[in-house]
Symmetry: C2
């Protein structure tokens, strides 16, 4: 995917070997810098109307999403969120009331996790977009690197709900008819879980694009292999709506659910789906043997 090639270009240009930069550009979900006596965790994420906001989304939900995606990144690093800044681009047709509701949605989620929204920049353009910048702190932070053979692979919650609901919406369903509207419009970042898991997880990341991409990144950066056991995957919440094959595809390759995947001896939040092994690559163990889990996901919609 072009996005990952461009990230590689950026990582090479911006690489620095400084004592205060613990995790730098392109290395992980977040950057980690040492400021005074604190590990300060920084992340930036941009959402666009056409690519990231589902049809029929309400302005409050746009505000929620734009903060949630950044809080989820911090959670994936095990950081406690503290501050948030945004830049918002307003297009023609967005009035003051709509704008206000976006910010109110952001504020509601910020209050829930005691995050102060301390700055913003508002300007005008062709497409509604919101870039968010979150600052957190972490006693111990966790990256995608550090998984050890023998550890369990754990998930904080079920996957595929957001993409399933999005596809229902594109197939003509109304908001009230969706299987999991909250997963699509107001997903909950795993803030508390991330902070607690940082105490013992050896590798962790939030699932932005897909479980498959997250696992491949952990495997590659940790120089290990990963096996997922199909029998451990509960697909009931998906097979109630689609056939088994489609459900498995959604579980492995869809994004948007804001869950965390981590490796540890102890799945203290959520449940086990596999294990870390020596070697490389990511595999799904099925009745018919091992299948490769590819490096691909739904890039948004």
């Amino acid at each position: 995917m072009r996005e990952f090639r461009l990230i590689d270009i950026a990582s090479q240009i911006f690489r620095v070997e400084w004592n205060d930069v613990l995790v730098g550009a392109g290395d992980d979900d977040c950057a980690v810098v040492r400021l005074g006596s604190e590990n300060v965790v920084l992340t930036a994420d941009n959402l666009h109307e056409k690519a990231d906001f589902p049809p029929s989304i309400k302005p409050e939900e746009i505000g929620h999403l734009s903060l949630a995606v950044n809080l989820s990144d911090l959670a994936g690093s095990g950081a406690e969120p503290r501050y948030f800044l945004y830049t918002i681009t307003i297009r023609d047709g967005i009035d003051d009331e709509f704008y206000k509701k976006i910010l109110e949605g952001m504020k509601k989620l910020a209050d829930k996790y005691r995050v102060a929204v301390v700055g913003g920049d508002t300007d005008f353009g062709d497409e509604l977009s919101i870039a968010g910048f979150a600052v957190g702190v972490a006693k111990r932070f966790v990256t995608q690197k550090g998984a050890l053979p023998g550890e369990k692979v754990c998930l904080t919650g079920e996957l595929g709900k957001a993409q399933l609901s999005l596809e229902q919406l594109f197939s003509g369903a109304e908001r009230g008819e969706l299987a999991y509207p909250e997963s699509l419009f107001t997903p909950e970042p795993r803030v508390g879980e991330g902070v607690e898991l940082a105490q013992h997880a050896s590798a962790m990341t939030d699932i932005s694009d897909s479980l498959a991409i997250s696992l491949n990144l952990i495997a590659k950066k940790s120089s290990v292999g990963i096996i997922i056991y199909e029998e451990l995957l509960n697909l009931q919440h998906l097979t109630d709506f689609v056939d088994y094959e489609k459900a498995l595809e959604l579980y492995l390759y869809a994004g948007g659910d804001y869950e965390l995947v981590y490796t540890s001896d102890d799945c203290s939040h959520g449940f086990v789906i596999g294990e870390v092994i020596k070697g490389e690559g990511v595999y799904l163990e099925t009745e018919n043997g091992l299948k490769e889990v590819e490096f691909r996901g739904y890039s948004h919609m």
Copy 2:
């Protein structure tokens, strides 16, 4: 201006009374938070191709501008810049090479001020835009509030060069024919000056939109009046190209020069242009008496 009305809406929604939030949303150029033993200064600024990138700008200069505008905000608060993150939206027609040069321009300026670019998010949309987030630290920080009657009003450098050059460009001039191409394409943020001035300035801001807007903000937030003396304004660098009236208009109401305006007993960088008085409002003292300096500026191009 709608931009300022929207900022007011945001300030009301995001107001918090927390001990660790020293300067919050909408209060100033930057937010200031207390993290461990440090004053951490945060700012976010978004640049759009149509509104902010002049015709014929090179990709390296786009990268330069997107960092410079954020460093200038930090300088206006007296902060030493440390870390930078960006989100970049790529439109059709921007190839990997162009993208790479944008980042290289950013990197060159970052290296000059020892700023680590620690994160980025790249995606795709209708218009090229770059949102930047800068993190700095300040032993003593300065806001727009704090000017005292009797102090001098000082500027770190001459104004109007960027807008003059932009108007030349729009009138058909080539890049090589512009009066001040560097002011337009690669303006230099006053990083070192900002940090030094923070030792004694009572109020300070960078001039994003116009001197007139900056002075009105300082006057209003400090509950003082300001008088600028026309005889102290050196317009020679503008009157070489335009008539006196236009030159004065550019000096007072044009943006893009990235200079700092501050109040202090001591103009240790730059020169005096006026003084702080009791009362309210901003005035220009001319041969024909006082004229009001209005709250207006060029909103970009």
